[in-house]
């Protein structure tokens, strides 16, 4: 897949050498290859090599009907699968002009937010694991198990026009219990990790992304909000049922790894608020609009943006009037977020590269599609 070329400096200066972090590596989030050029312990250059999990989703989109492509978005970013599913359904509905019933929107929002919490558990705790604290990672998985049990219970993936399954009594009670439980658990994480002096010393002022760099590289998501820019697609271009909920967009000013971690933890609390409001005001009604068997959007194109756990995702769909899309382009936030690594890593230590990479929270299959 890659033929690494020796960097010219290495032959001139004996101290400079290249290290391959990956593709198989205990701390990279997927099959990810980082070519690091080091001088002793200081990083001179980081070059991410991607493409190890390329499966050709965009090509697949060109010879499947819209319904047949439904499973694919969830496989792109497997940690926010339901959010991608929600977004894809939204994109096709936008193109076709289908109106989705309110109850379905609420259910979509609830499952999306649960998925967001689950993804942030991995994102934040994987960062802690990259630093060497293995325990919070396993605690995070424990909490994730509860979410996955809930989601498995209803398996309410979106379909065009609504959702497939309605909320059951079990799901409703389980989610209520989960919200209460998780609110208590945040204290445990606070004591174990957030206040830990070693954790703070290793995260503060490491990997600072300034607003200028963020603008240059198109960074979105918690990575951006850790640098003080409060850009969240749910608030800027409200979609689905989000306008009816009150929630905040947490930001931190510092722009270092600690700020990004704190943003993720704060976002989990906000997601809990959204789920609670949605459960409180769940409207009755149908869960699926009447949609033709084969969705045939009119000719034209459409770009639909939504917020996944990693940043602003966009589905750009070009239709030629048939039931098979002409082109679907997925804008993956991890693609842009990963490229920032080349800008902010030089000058740090090797241990920091792992920390920064963990704090950016990249999902490699989303980059490769």
């Amino acid at each position: 897949m890659l033929n690494p070329k020796t960097i010219d400096d290495a032959s001139i200066d004996q101290r400079v050498y290249q290290l391959n972090l990956g593709p198989q590596h205990p701390s990279t989030h997927g099959v990810m290859h980082l070519l690091v050029t080091l001088d002793g312990e200081v990083v001179l250059k980081v070059e991410p090599v991607i493409g190890y999990s390329h499966r050709g989703h965009e090509k697949m989109a060109e010879n499947r009907t819209y319904e047949q492509f439904l499973p694919n978005p969830a496989r792109m970013d497997y940690l926010s699968g339901m959010i991608f599913n929600h977004g894809y359904c939204m994109a096709v509905e936008k193109l076709c002009g289908i109106e989705v019933p309110r109850r379905a929107e609420y259910i979509r929002v609830i499952t999306s937010e649960l998925n967001r919490i689950a993804s942030h558990f991995i994102g934040a705790m994987d960062y802690a694991m990259g630093l060497g604290a293995i325990t919070p990672f396993l605690w995070g998985w424990d909490d994730r198990e509860h979410i996955l049990d809930l989601l498995e219970g209803i398996t309410s993936y979106g379909r065009f026009g609504g959702v497939r399954n309605d909320i059951t009594r079990e799901f409703y009670d389980g989610t209520r219990r989960f919200i209460d439980r998780l609110r208590g658990r945040f204290w445990d994480y606070e004591n174990l990790i957030n206040q830990n002096i070693i954790f703070i010393k290793r995260s503060q002022d490491v990997g600072v992304i300034t607003k200028e760099v963020a603008l240059d590289y198109g960074v979105t998501g918690p990575t951006l909000r850790g640098s003080g820019v409060g850009y969240d697609v749910r608030k800027r271009e409200p979609y689905s049922a989000y306008p009816e909920f009150t929630f905040e967009i947490p930001t931190r000013e510092a722009g270092d790894c600690l700020a990004r971690y704190q943003v993720r933890m704060a976002e989990m609390e906000q997601s809990l608020n959204i789920i609670e409001q949605a459960l409180d005001h769940l409207p009755p009604g149908p869960i699926r609009a009447k949609v033709p068997r084969f969705v045939t959007p009119p000719e034209g194109d459409c770009y639909c943006a939504f917020e996944s756990a990693r940043g602003a995702v966009g589905f750009y769909i070009v239709s030629d009037g048939s039931r098979i899309p002409y082109r679907i382009k997925v804008r993956a936030p991890s693609f842009s977020n990963l490229f920032v690594l080349t800008e902010i890593c030089p000058g740090h230590f090797l241990a920091d590269v792992i920390a920064i990479f963990g704090s950016i929270d990249v999902t490699v299959p989303e980059i490769d599609r």
Binding site: N63, G97, D216, G218, R236, F294, G300, I324, F335
Partner: protein, 164 residues
């Protein structure tokens, strides 16, 4: 559904773009229908000027992609702001095959990877790109996967859409 209303700031952008790239065609689009507010149609020239203008107005480059229409390409650039009045501008560049557009990486460094991806999948080469090589596909393949005359598309084979 409430949405970001295009008001004064959009007018400003429209006017400045008219000044910067007089040869472009500007279309106002309905955000509810297609997800972007302004469409700028260019024919092969003017992208760098537009990118410079967008950068000055604090837009970030959301994505660069291409659509293959067999006789020509549409190269699509999407710009969005971080600001409160958030809206989206799309630039559509009509490219004939074998034409090499200019790279915008000096203005938006993110374009280095985005243009590599477009090259990797469509074969569109960018003029002035520092490191134009494959990014997602293996390094040594000689095809461009997303072209319409490659692989299984409705132009090459009969696609039987099996009911799911």
């Amino acid at each position: 559904m409430p949405t970001a209303e295009p008001t004064k700031p959009l007018e400003n952008i429209r006017n400045s773009l008219v000044q910067v790239i007089p040869e472009a065609e500007l279309l106002d689009r309905d955000y509810q229908e297609c997800g972007y507010h302004l469409e700028v149609r260019l024919v092969m020239r003017g992208m760098r000027r537009m990118a410079r203008e967008m950068k000055d107005r604090r837009f970030f480059l959301e994505t660069i992609t291409a659509v293959d229409f067999l006789e020509y390409f549409h190269l699509i650039y999407l710009f969005t702001t971080y600001n409160e009045a958030s809206f989206r501008v799309m630039a559509r560049v009509k490219l004939l095959p074998e034409v090499r557009p200019f790279s915008v990486w000096t203005i938006y460094p993110e374009a280095i990877w985005l243009e590599r991806e477009v090259y990797d999948f469509f074969g569109i080469r960018f003029e002035g790109h520092p490191d134009l090589k494959r990014i997602i596909n293996p390094d040594d393949v000689d095809y461009f996967p997303l072209l319409k005359n490659f692989g299984k598309t409705k132009f090459t084979t009969d696609i039987d859409d099996i009911l799911c």
